[in-house]
Amino acid sequence: MAGVCCGVVAESESAAVVEQASKSSRRRRMEILPFMLVSDAAVSSPLENGRKRQKLDLDLDLVLPASPRDCDNAIENSESNQVNEDREINEGLNSYGTVELVTETEPPKFGLTSVCGRRRDMEDAVSIHPSLCKLSCEAEISSDVHFYSVFDGHGCSHVAMKCRDRFHEIVKEEIEACGGGKSVDWKLMMERSFERMDKEVQESTTVDDKANSNCRCELQTPQCDAVGSTAVVAIVTPDKIIVANCGDSRAVLCRNGVALPLSDDHKPDRPDELIRIEEAGGRVIYWDGPRVLGVLAMSRAIGDNYLKPFVIPEPEVTITERTSEDECLILGSDGLWDVVTNETACGVARMCLRAQKPASPPMSPASDAAVRGGGGGTESSDKACWDASILLTKLALARHSADNVSVIVVDLKKNQQI
């Protein structure tokens, strides 16, 4: 079956939601979701409310495996689109999706890849929401807030999936609760969001989700108490990058060729974490590496009730002022970082972003996806993010990463014409 066309229009005041979450994707667990945004100048509509409306083609796939399963999903999608459930938008990832973004600046450029890799279970989840909400400042010109996150589950996949489905909504509510102005206390906002997310995870495993859970642990206690997820959440505003992290997924900023980690992995043997755990009455036992109580190889996570208070859901937050030297932001699960250094990742991403030529070979069926639309500056730059994420994933696989691999690459260069 070739791609099924799903025209998805999300015209809520909060602009487009490009969402990774849907019932069908949850059923099949996470899949690799590489996509790119291609701005299509030909269809951009006139100015409206002083904002330029830009129509973005989420060009997600060209050829699909001819399996009845995918057809089902595609049908599900088109049906759900008709009833305008934007929750299902993302299944456009199996076909074509058109998302209308309302933005007064250029759209964010990013690429993402998420694969099961050498594991037999997929426990990574990725969630991207460009233009999650707006910040208004004195001049009443609002600016977009973009949301990027990677969750790496352990024990089972349901906590990571829950984070994927809910985290951005919580963050949006928390930002709006701050009045949405320039006065947002980012650190506090992130801490509150993580606390709420963790609370929701605890509650959901006790109540409603049990009936329709299809995960390995089937949400049975006590097993599901031993389930959790890392969370690295990046908020990108026009002048700041806010990263909140819990666990061993990581965000790295590439600035003028230098790799700057924006998060510090929460490993049980990190000196300050070790002290914190021991002061809480816990122990770090070396059992295939340092582990909290000999069980969990990270010192902070969402979920993991039975390891509280040693393992906490409290994030560390960094706030970085953006500069003109910023090139890209890379978010990844430990499937990437275990085998690829920050410096190498930045080097690879930078190379891809700087490459002007299309990188896919002519024989690859997907290459035309990227060059379609004319190959102007914006397209190739988006394609570059996409190339960077795939190349980093392939590099992780080549270096024998034994885990699921998830990579997001966000282009941070501002208004540059190539």
């Binding site: 099949r28 667990r29 899949e31 690799i32 979701l33 590489p34 796939d61 060209l62 050829v63 699909l64 495996p65 001819a66 399996s67 399963r69 995918d70 690429g111 890849t113 998420s114 694969v115 099961c116 890799g117 050498r118 037999r120 997929m122 690879v348 190379m351 891809c352 490459a355 030529k357 299309p358 990188a359 896919s360 070979p361 002519p362 024989m363 690859s364 069926p365 997907a366 290459s367 996806a369 996409w386 190339d387 994420s389 795939i390 190349l391 994933t393 392939k394 590099l395 696989l397 080549a398 270096r399």
Partner: protein, 249 residues
């Protein structure tokens, strides 16, 4: 009239001979391509098609033989101990194809990092695109799910042996191994179920391979098939060396 065992042996040896021949053809095509770059998509598609056809013929033959001697297929005497130790429902795990794809597509990434970006290296598995990788991952997840289903079916069948009626008849018998019509009927029934599972597993192996080859470009497909056949034949030879090291024929 050949015995069931002879028929099974012949089926296997024919299959291995076909593997060798196909490997030769695939390697030749790839080598030729290295020198003159003239391997057309059409030629690749023909090679892949031929290979899938012979796989189909092989599993059809196995399906027929499985009705006669399923136990013989599950514990093949023609395989080496090394190969038998890795069997999943009388063959390879379908998910192994995806593993091999990952290994192949990763193998040259480091070397090609520079080239990849320039778009110089063409057609090889190292050039798997994002869309292809997403589709391979999708296939991976579905294949694992199907594998797990069959694994749990075979687990149930294996556990059935220790239940009514076979276990109870065994307990009742006055002499160990005394013939029993009831047990014979139960074992016959068991063998039919095993044969059905074998056919399902073979179908999954073929459909996974087909789908994978559909995702890969024709040239990548030829690359993949050559690597997988070579691996298979190598395992057989390495198994022989190990067998003789342990004093097996």
């Amino acid at each position: 009239m050949a015995s069931d065992d002879q028929l099974l042996q012949r089926c296997f040896h024919d299959w291995m001979a076909i593997q060798e021949q196909e490997l030769k053809d695939l390697t030749q095509a790839l080598d030729q391509n290295q020198t003159d770059g003239n391997l057309t998509e059409n030629a690749c598609a023909q090679l892949t098609h031929k290979s899938l056809n012979s796989f189909q013929e092989y599993i059809d033959k196995r399906a027929g033989l499985s009705r006669q001697d399923i136990s013989g297929l599950f514990s093949p005497l023609w395989n080496t101990a090394l190969e038998n130790s890795m069997l999943w429902i009388a063959g390879c795990r379908p998910s192994i194809y995806i593993r091999l794809t990952y290994a192949l597509c990763g193998s040259q990434v480091e070397f090609q990092l520079g080239e990849t970006i320039q778009g110089l290296a063409r057609g090889s598995l190292a050039q798997v695109s994002a869309t292809q990788l997403r589709m391979v991952n999708d296939l991976h997840m579905r294949t694992i799910k199907e594998e797990e289903k069959l694994s749990s079916q075979i687990a149930s069948l294996q556990e059935n042996i220790a239940d009514q009626p076979i276990a109870m008849v065994a307990k009742r018998l006055s002499h160990v191994g005394e013939p029993s019509g009831e047990v014979d009927r139960a074992l016959d029934e068991h063998e039919v179920s095993m044969s059905n599972i074998l056919q399902e597993a073979d179908k999954l192996r073929l459909s996974t391979l087909k789908e994978l080859l559909g995702i890969l470009t024709p040239l990548q497909g030829v690359d993949f098939l050559a690597a997988s056949k070579k691996l298979h034949l190598c395992m057989h030879e390495w198994g022989k060396t190990r067998d003789s090291r342990h004093g097996r024929k």
